[in-house]
Amino acid sequence: MFRRERSISLRGSAAALCNNLSVLQLPAHNLTYFGVVHGPSAQILSAAPEGVPLAQRHLHAKEGAGVSPSLITQVHWCVLPFRVLLVLTSHRGIQMYESDGSIMVYWHALDSGDASPVQAVFARGIAASGHFICVGTWSGRVLVFDIPAKGPNIVLSEELAGHQTAVTDIATEPAQGQDCVADMVTADDSGLLCVWRSRPEFTLLIRIPGFGVPCPSVQLWQGIVAASYGNGQVRLYEATTGTLHVQINAHARAICALDLAPEAGKGTWTGHCSLYISCQDVWTPILPPCFF
């Protein structure tokens, strides 16, 4: 089961946004990084085992030409084959840093060309897929960046169309042989899920429709999509077919984050009403492939 560790204090508040905590484990260095956003800045904290805080750093959203400061929507570490990058998404664009946040290696300004004046323009939803980093946008488009093994020569290689409303979250897992072809899932404000494969090229495999509530958080593990919804439900789907296999009435309010502990094969989710629920009972029946 789960064990509560020592608390670490942040030097500031956390915004009431979904998926507002990113963690990077570096077991080789005995370090854990935590990232939280609030307003126009992101707080990066490194901690030793037992939760001893070591260093804090603040990163800021790149200012644009406008008067109002840009707000950060999300911070996320992307673990790629040869490097780890820290990605910040905001209302102006996408910033990529070295994993400790020390140097910015890339900046991509969002194109708000076809946005109506009432539309908020922002990037949100970050995930690594192989040597690509995928970032969602307000329009529903997913931007795919090609990341070299080192250096700042990052290129926007394509834009994926699949969503009509703003992307909320992206989840990926390493493709495992031919059985598990689906290796990326994207979610949006309408509750729609898009399941993709990245090899040989990014292809939309299946759409899992929503049911009138947003899907703020999604995870992908062993070909199973775990999605949390604005009505407090968690649903588990088979990624390749989109079949619903488990529906959990988990929370009394909208769920704002969903996370997975891949080694343990377990997940946890947090809801707005702050109830903690262990899903050990849920995962166990799903694990044997013959269930499907």
Binding site: L244, H245, Q247, I248
Partner: protein, 306 residues
């Protein structure tokens, strides 16, 4: 972030302001023919609210408000409400717009500022009661049901709230939380016990701020301060219901509201009495609108009651 939030914010805060004004003006309700020149009647109350509502929902202002735009800053919004409140014959003092302790009284908020989220009660429309896991096979048939304990005690919403112009909203959001005269639950801390019980008795207070201050000055002027023998020389005046409220208000007081502390030594010294008399003179409220001089004064203390 959102360019459509300002109307919601403005109408919610404006609506709350109207509830408060309505309640406080009703507390003053005196029949028209029996009212003195400085008392609020039903006619006055209706006039004040009518003036404010018509300003708030003025067509041009509404058109401007609903244009997609960034949120106003706290200061800017505060200025808007100030102007709005003064659209009538009424005058408010600065402090009355700062403090709201209803949440503390209703136990919705703790004294450390944190909000209390209940783990029971009705769920939002469309949310099912937590605690159920349903499993389906490839054909979509339910094959298993598991229940788990979640520690809460929720019930589904009886029906969806109406979106029509008039209808049953089901929720309490937007309703008047000042309409019920709730008993003030005070924490009986030392020193404030007498003050608290006095407040509970006075459901319809008669706040004449000037007279109260005069009385205070008289008391202070005539009092002999003996040599401090105990731990607390003199007396400590708490204008709030409890010590906790006083601390809370001090914490939430905005920086801009500066105030001077005047030390008054109420001894028999002649020179000091002159000084005191001069200070008493300064208690006069200068900013008086021409239409209703004394009614404006009443409102000072009235809004402080909140």
């Amino acid at each position: 972030m959102s360019v459509r939030t300002l109307p919601l914010l403005f109408l919610n805060l404006g609506g709350e302001m109207l509830y408060i004004l309505d309640q406080r003006l009703r507390a003053q309700n005196i029949p028209g023919d029996k009212a003195r020149k400085d008392e609020w009647t039903e006619v006055d109350r209706k006039r004040v609210l009518n003036d404010i509502i018509s300003t708030m929902f003025n067509r041009k202002f509404m058109e401007e408000l609903f244009k997609p735009q960034e949120l106003y800053s706290k200061k800017a919004l505060r200025t808007v409400y100030n102007r709005l409140a003064h659209a009538s014959i009424m005058r408010l003092n600065q402090a009355s717009m700062d403090k709201v302790s209803t949440f503390l009284k209703d136990k919705v908020q703790n004294s450390n500022g944190r909000f209390v989220l209940p783990v029971s009660g009705p769920l939002p429309w469309g949310t099912e009661v937590p605690g159920l896991i349903r499993m389906f096979n490839n054909k979509g048939e339910e094959v298993k049901k598991i229940e788990f304990k979640h520690g809460g005690n929720y019930v589904t919403a009886p029906k969806e709230g109406s979106f029509e112009l008039y209808g049953d909203r089901v929720l309490k959001l937007g309703t008047n939380m000042y309409s019920v005269n709730q008993p003030v639950e005070t924490h009986m801390s030392r020193g404030s016990k007498n003050l608290a019980s006095r407040t509970q008795e006075n459901i319809a207070p008669n706040p004449l701020a000037k007279e109260e201050l005069n009385l205070l000055a008289r008391l202070m002027g005539g009092m002999e301060i003996k040599k401090p023998s105990g731990p607390e020389p003199g007396f400590r005046l708490n204008l709030f219901t409890t010590d906790e409220e006083e601390e809370q208000a001090a914490l939430t007081r905005p920086e801009e509201l500066s105030y001077e502390v005047i030390n008054i030594q109420a001894t028999q010294d002649e020179q000091r009495n002159e000084e005191l008399a001069r200070i008493m003179g300064e208690f006069e409220i200068l900013d008086q609108p021409k239409q209703s001089a004394s009614k404006g004064d009443d409102l000072l203390a009235m809004m402080d009651e909140l």
